[in-house]
Amino acid sequence: MNRVWSVLRWREFPVAFALVALIIVTYSVNPAFLAAQGVKDLMLNATILVILAAGQTLVLVTENVDLSVGSVLGLTAYSVGVLFAVFPGIPIIAVFIIAILLGGVLGAINGLLVSVAKVPALVITLGTLYIYRGINNAWAGGKQYFAGDRPEAFGDLSVQTILGIPLITLIALVILAIVAIYLAGTRSGRDLYAIGSDSDAAKLYGVPVTKRIFSVFVANGLLAGLAGVLYASRFNSVGATTGDGIELQVVAAAVVGGVAISGGVGTVVGAALGGLLLTTITSSLTAMRVDKFWQQAVVGVLILSAVVIDRVSSLRTTRRLRVSEARNV
């Protein structure tokens, strides 16, 4: 009985439950939803959002936020298009490295501004959201690069599968595992929770707060860079508006997955489940022949429910702590 309760109290339980329920309902209405191609599409659609949500979790846990990820993804995806066009023979691995490093540099600019200026990340990354997008617009103009401009092997990354799992999804899973283990199991990963719970206390305790926050933004930039490369592999065209507006979806995915916007709580696995849930909703609404226009409203309801659930559970924890502290006295 106790074990059942502990699963129910598991922070990721609501999102996992919603995801399973959604898949079961959709499958019973339309069995074609879980055909091999359907499952593959589900994974492909979720891949990019899941990577971005994992990176955003690192930032959110420290009580910061990075709104510039959509613009970083746009810039890196477009740079992939440019690289293949300008250097036709360039090895794919080199493109990966250059684009990921570009993302890292953009993230480092965010990190520097946030940690030096001591201004909320919301403001700084709102500014860089504009600046990076503007640079992307100036660079690309009306130009777009299409899948035909890129080598076939690069596009194959999102076509070929191993054990039914697309290659780019495998890459995402590996990254996800690394970030999850880092955040849950390493000392500097645990520091991030300490910073998010109470940054002054963390500083007193000896956590290098400024350094950690800076590196979190760099890490998120690197991951957004990777997402940009995978985007260029998955989608036909990259141009000036690539990734526009995805930042709110990313934050939504993390929040739905139980990452608190007020910092200090949440896991990478939860955020990944949140991302998977958001993208699965789109597909299942189509599979159930529900008007596609309902999709965004459903996402809104999901975010609000996640926030309410979080509030209820934190109130309950506070009460439990108060009772146990009272007994200890």
Binding site: V123, G127, A240, V255, I261, Q296, I303, L304
Partner: protein, 351 residues
């Protein structure tokens, strides 16, 4: 802050002098300087056409910036404003296409805005959720409802007299008639914030919610009213947007929330709450509008211009931090000197 205040008191600055050297006033000097500079440098800038186009472009941002200023001063935020405007636009289109009387349609649109704001307000004050999280949710929800209401249709055939009225100008000045409504709104919000006990309460709760509650301010109710006002003004902006472009679509005004917040912060409203002014926010909106308009005259495309908005936003928040840091360094150095050289400091008056 208290240090700054005590310095000002010590220097014997009167109320007028403090107003003239406030952040809001400085923003206005900058706006005027930029206007003068551009009139001299850019050919064709100083003309009624400029006033017309510039103001028509900034009106939606200017309107929403007013309640947003008050919301941010209480250390909250509302990201759902553009979605509320979009939802209003969609409702307006569908009801008008359904043959309803246009004035009844407008009334219902305003009620939609009120309800949207009240929903945010209840979630934030009664349920006690963080406004950032709630309004990210309603940003998606309201835009989603707009899609449910109107889908990917567009309604365009609004009454001619209303659409021409929305873009008409006052005589030969080039100033849009609609600016009269905006000016009334500016006056209302400025008076409420700066001249009423309610407004002073907003600053107080921005500094410290607990302290504000302690001195008897009903924090929950005040914030609820603010979010309702934000919803209402957002729906007015949605109506204006629809009439100006004579098109009701689900994606109207999308992304506007970020432009509004950028302008408000540029106008000196602190994201931490407790500091800011309505005139400052208005100057922030105008600053971004003017610079963008002038650069557009130079045939720099709109999409590249967002670099300017972003840079101004970052500069406006990083600038004061650097200034503060330099002052601290200077102060530390002086303290250090006084401590290592006590004979000298004992002759100087105690501070």
């Amino acid at each position: 802050m208290s240090e700054v205040l005590s310095q000002e008191v010590a220097a014997g600055r009167s109320g007028a002098a403090r107003v003239m050297t406030s952040r809001g006033a400085i923003m206005w000097y900058l706006v005027l300087a930029v206007l003068v500079l551009l009139s001299l440098v850019v050919p064709g800038f100083a003309s009624p056409r400029t006033a017309g186009f510039l103001l028509l472009d900034v009106i939606p941002i200017l309107m929403i910036a007013l309640p947003m200023t008050l919301v941010i001063i209480t250390a909250e935020i509302d990201l759902s404003v553009a979605s509320t405007a979009g939802l209003t636009s969609a409702v307006m289109g569908v009801l008008w296409a359904g043959g309803m009387n246009i004035y009844l349609v407008l009334l219902i649109c305003l009620i939609v805005g009120l309800l949207a704001g009240a929903f945010n307000g209840i979630m934030i004050t009664a349920v006690g959720l963080p406004s950032l999280a709630v309004t990210i949710g309603t940003l998606a929800l309201f835009r989603g409802l707009a899609l449910v209401v109107i889908g990917d249709n567009a309604v365009a055939n609004f009454p001619r007299e209303l659409t021409t009225w929305a873009t008409s100008k006052i005589g030969a000045t080039g100033i849009p008639v609609f600016m009269v409504i905006v000016l009334v709104l500016i006056a209302i919000f400025a008076v409420v914030l700066h001249l009423t006990p309610f407004g002073r309460g907003l600053f107080a709760m921005g500094f410290s919610k607990e302290a504000a509650e302690f001195v008897g301010i009903d924090v929950g109710r005040s914030k609820f009213y603010l979010f309702v006002a934000t919803g209402l003004v957002s729906s007015m902006a949605g109506i204006f947007w629809t009439l100006r472009y004579s098109s009701a679509r689900s994606d109207n005004a999308s992304g506007l929330e970020l432009a509004v917040i950028a302008a408000v912060l540029l106008g000196g409203v602190s994201i931490f709450g407790g500091r800011g002014s309505v005139p400052g926010a208005v100057a922030g909106v105008l600053m971004i509008g003017i610079i963008n308009y002038a650069l557009r005259l130079q045939r720099i495309s709109d999409v590249v211009l967002i670099i300017v908005t972003g840079t101004l936003l970052i500069a406006s928040v990083v600038g004061p931090s650097i200034f503060e840091w330099m002052r601290k360094v200077r102060h530390d150095r002086r303290v250090h000197r006084d401590l290592t050289n006590p004979a000298k400091s004992s002759t100087s008056p105690a501070s």
